[in-house]
Symmetry: C2
Subunit: 324 residues, 2 copies
């Protein structure tokens, strides 16, 4: 079943009990990062539909009172056996919610506790439309369209078709500059990652997954709008910043951060979605696709950094290595 038919079946079933009222997005770490664009989309566009995004264990221990048969709970786990994520889906089912599980593992425990299962594609050869970030966003677009209606539904679908080509070209475009980045920043021990809008989740994701987890480097995300209300006081000529500039409504926030950094910082790497070709997407929906582009492009940066630092992306000292 594709996103359209999963949601059609869900909406039809829930219409007997009062309809879909809440969408909960529940996962951990990198999978939670993949949910942020969908949360941002629903926050922006929904008129009555509620949503919540939770790290799985908080959802399990402090479940929202509204979790009910009127809820759709989307749970994502790459390996599909993350205990907190499985427990979250179990809890959702006990409360009568409809669960949709995404995983890359066809043998995942998570599938036992899901009403609908999506096994997604992964790796550089897959189309980004088949990766979890775009799938989850697509599910939420379907939920909105099939409940309240969404004025830019057709434009969104055009965006889904177009984004893969943008990503392929952008990856090629950063091939040389990502190696230069790695060369320049190989000895740094800390990075701040700035972005806004739908991409703030990926600023968080690049910090916690690509740098902290995969490179054991210190990192923190900063919202471009929040930067001027505290964080920017750490700016100096020695501290590295990575700024992911969005195309769309929040671009002005990223531009303001760039202007400040150009004045007061020397180590600034700019990844500009506009310069990387995303502006060919329909303007009504382009902002929601920025993080899809940034994810793929930043994979080039982290791969180059890993190679230059001789610290493979797969190396872990705790995750899967010790009991916790």
């Amino acid at each position: 079943m594709n996103a359209h038919s999963i949601i059609a079946a869900t909406v039809a079933r829930l219409n007997h009990v009062g309809g879909v009222r809440q969408v909960f997005l529940v996962a951990c770490g990198g999978s939670l990062v993949d949910m942020y664009p969908a949360k941002y989309f629903l926050d922006s566009e929904a008129l009555t539909l509620r949503n919540g995004m939770y790290t799985a264990n908080e959802f399990v221990y402090a479940a929202p009172a509204s979790l009910s048969e009127n809820s759709v709970v989307i749970v994502c786990s790459h390996g599909g056996n993350t205990p907190e994520s499985v427990a979250a889906a179990e809890l959702a089912q006990r409360r009568g919610a409809t669960t949709i599980a995404l995983t890359h593992n066809p043998q995942a425990d998570l599938q036992r506790v899901a009403d609908h299962n999506i096994i997604y594609a992964w790796g550089n050869d897959s189309s980004v439309a088949d990766n979890p970030m775009a799938i989850i966003l697509g599910l939420c677009v379907e939920i909105l369209q099939q409940t309240e209606g969404y004025a830019h539904y057709a434009a969104f679908q055009r965006g889904v078709v177009q984004i893969d080509g943008v990503v392929v070209r952008a990856r090629a475009q950063v091939a040389v500059r990502s190696v230069r980045f790695a060369e320049r920043y190989q000895h740094e021990s800390l990075f701040y990652i700035l972005s806004s809008g739908a991409s703030y989740g990926h600023a968080y994701g690049f910090a916690i997954c690509s740098l902290m987890e995969m490179q054991w480097l210190n990192a923190a995300p900063i919202h471009s709008g929040e930067f001027f209300h505290g964080p920017f006081e750490v700016t100096d000529r020695e501290t590295p910043f990575i700024l992911m500039m969005n195309q769309g409504r929040t671009r002005a926030l990223d531009e303001r951060a760039l202007s400040f950094l150009n004045q007061y910082a020397d180590k600034v790497e700019v990844i500009d979605a506009k310069e990387l070709g995303i502006a060919t997407l329909p303007p009504e929906v382009v902002e929601y696709f920025n993080p899809v582009l940034f994810y793929s492009v930043m994979c080039e940066y982290r791969a180059a950094l890993a190679q230059r630092r001789e610290h493979p992306l797969e190396t872990r000292r705790y995750m899967g290595q010790v009991i916790y």
Copy 2:
């Protein structure tokens, strides 16, 4: 007007147009931090009321479609003249929303664009119930109570009465240990701040305001539940962690982080709300008061650190010093 009567007037007026449907919490930096407990409360307890929390400039540039005459928009700015926050309140008024402004400045621009104004108390001599974090939480409790009803409303009001005494005793309790903390960590350049539940916002706040803004130190918040899904790979014997342990539903998440840190880290400062006396509050509502306690207690820690480092809390190099 107090919170109860402001909300009573708002609810009465909005009943003519379909009632209160959305609560938007809008601010920047430290004032945004003060809104997180209210957001967590509404996410947890509301059955139909929607909410959203926004850094002000994102609200201005990417306002939610649902912003309307059915919205209550709470805007907070300490100095009351933050341009983005004033613009956010203006936008809210243009869209027909009811605006409630909080500021410490009786001459603030923000007041021009507010339907209701609250001038709050500030400083160590004020009761925490009169500070913005508790006021905003109290406003949202009133909104919920006066629309859907809130089963633990009476318990919450008991909590408001009790928390001030807990805070006063806790501040005294950490007087010596905050000086020891400053002594031990005075030469560190980076801290990770962990917490969960209603207090995650204050983990963010201590990082961006107390450390980055006021001490020019590197810092990042980590959600205790997310810690195990990426961030914990940076753990070693040299990296400092501050863990704020909640009383209430998410305590298990903080305890899990503590157990890991006790094994793999040496520089761990634990601020435990339970040990600091918060468990005397009603169990149904205690979790929402953790960040009120943490804010006050952590003021002792940052003051001690500032004194030891001879870097006054008021020193800025950009904020209010340069154009941005």
